[in-house]
């Protein structure tokens, strides 16, 4: 099985959702289910990156993942859970505050100690 070192193609710091597509384009002619994605030397991955990685690669092709650092495994696990669960959209309604003047707005902002 061919081993793909993600840090060599992208970076050791995986931040952006759209960089998954850079990886996809780089692997275009390969059979993804026959690949091993190696996370060696990857220091960080954002939730957005992992979410996109899951949808583009894992969900469809189930490739092997190796050397996934614990801190990234936590995010991978969370992402895979949220694909299966129904999302809990928060439904509570907050009252909208509006003000009749700039002075009223400024006094409110000064009063809330934020």
């Amino acid at each position: 099985m061919e081993r793909i070192f993600i840090s060599q193609i992208l970076s050791d710091d995986l931040k952006s959702r759209s960089s998954v597509h850079t990886l996809y384009v780089a692997l275009k002619s390969k059979y993804i289910n026959e690949l091993v994605f190696d996370f060696s030397n990857v220091n960080f991955a954002s939730r957005s990156f992992i979410d996109e990685f899951y949808n583009v690669f894992i969900k469809e092709h189930r490739p092997k993942l190796e050397n996934v650092p614990d801190k990234i495994a936590v995010i991978l696990d969370a992402v895979s859970r949220t694909q299966e669960e129904n999302k809990k959209t928060i439904t509570k309604k907050s009252k909208i505050k509006s003000f009749n003047s700039v002075d009223e707005f400024c006094s409110y902002m000064t009063s809330i100690a934020f």
């Binding site: 970076s11 954002s46 936590v74 969370a78 928060i90 902002m109 809330i112 934020f114």
Partner: protein, 296 residues
């Protein structure tokens, strides 16, 4: 018209910089002149919320606003003159950042925000994070939390705003153990992003409420897994680090911390930001913080 205000933003609160900006913008909106000069000679100490919201309100204003008497301090932080990080050599950018290692701020930096420039954007953000890491001397868990929160905020600009550029400015308060960071874009706003996919909200505040309730403009049937970024970042910041979160987009303002629960505010009549701004106050000395407790 010339506006000359004495500005000394207190570091007591994250949003302290907003009131002076609103007062200055109110003078600009209400004067009869089409050209306004801001005399900066009395602007002494500013905050990320002041600097970035002022910049965005001025960019959104139909009048011609210019600055004069910019002080050395304002020049050093690159007030209204952001460092365009991708337009200088990467090594030069990193060496420029190194000159801020003994300062209590990083200057206003502008970065490319469109999806075709993510590699540049990510490299710039990584350089900024490395500076913060070295400057603040923070624990790995807090660093990962900071990277997680910043990463989501910046990637949302790319994913939703259609803005060509993004802006970041940060100020540290070492004796108090927290950092204020402000990130913004000049994009289509939250409501504009929802409108584009047919998710109609009656106003900016309603769109702000939705964005802060895990609704994403990129949730489609069968792929309802978006919208976790802001939500988990807020949990990490507020529940995990006792920080504060502020967001402004169009005519809407949103505030949240451990004392203020989802405060949705309509900006005063006539005020509008053509873009989206997020500001956070992040206490970075929590030894017990575990980012993994807040990832979902």
């Amino acid at each position: 018209m010339i506006i000359k205000e004495e500005i000394n933003i207190s570091d007591d609160y994250l949003s302290s910089g907003l009131v002076p900006v609103v007062r200055i913008m109110n003078k600009i909106y209400n004067c009869e002149d089409e050209k306004v000069i801001i005399d900066c000679s009395k602007i002494n100490f500013v905050s990320p919320v002041f600097v970035i919201s002022f910049m965005l309100f001025v960019f959104s204003c139909k009048k011609k606003v210019s600055l004069r008497n910019i002080t050395t301090y304002l020049e050093t932080i690159h007030f209204f003159n952001a460092i365009e990080a991708d337009k200088i050599d990467p090594d030069k950018f990193i060496s420029t950042l190194r000159t801020y290692l003994n300062k209590t701020y990083i200057p206003v930096i502008s970065f490319p925000a469109l999806a075709n420039r993510v590699a540049d954007k990510d490299a710039i953000l990584s350089a900024i994070e490395n500076l913060l890491y070295k400057r603040l001397v923070i624990k790995t868990n807090v660093l990962i939390g900071l990277k997680y929160i910043l990463g989501e905020m910046v990637d949302n600009i790319t994913e939703h705003s259609e803005s060509v550029r993004g802006y970041i400015f940060a100020q540290f308060y070492p004796s108090k153990g927290y950092i204020d960071i402000c990130i913004a874009d000049q994009g289509i706003t939250l409501k504009g992003s929802f409108d584009k996919v047919g998710m109609k909200y009656s106003g900016d505040v309603e769109a702000m409420s939705a964005a802060n309730s895990q609704v994403s403009s990129k949730n489609f049937p069968g792929s309802d897994n978006r919208g976790y970024g802001i939500y988990t970042s807020k949990n990490m910041l507020i529940d995990g680090l006792s920080g504060q979160f502020m967001m402004m987009s169009g005519t809407a303002l949103y505030l949240k911390d451990n004392h203020i629960e989802d405060d949705l505010i309509e900006l005063p009549k006539g005020f509008r930001l053509n873009g989206t701004l997020i500001a956070i106050r992040l206490p970075y000395q929590n030894k017990d913080f575990l980012y993994s407790n807040y990832v979902e």
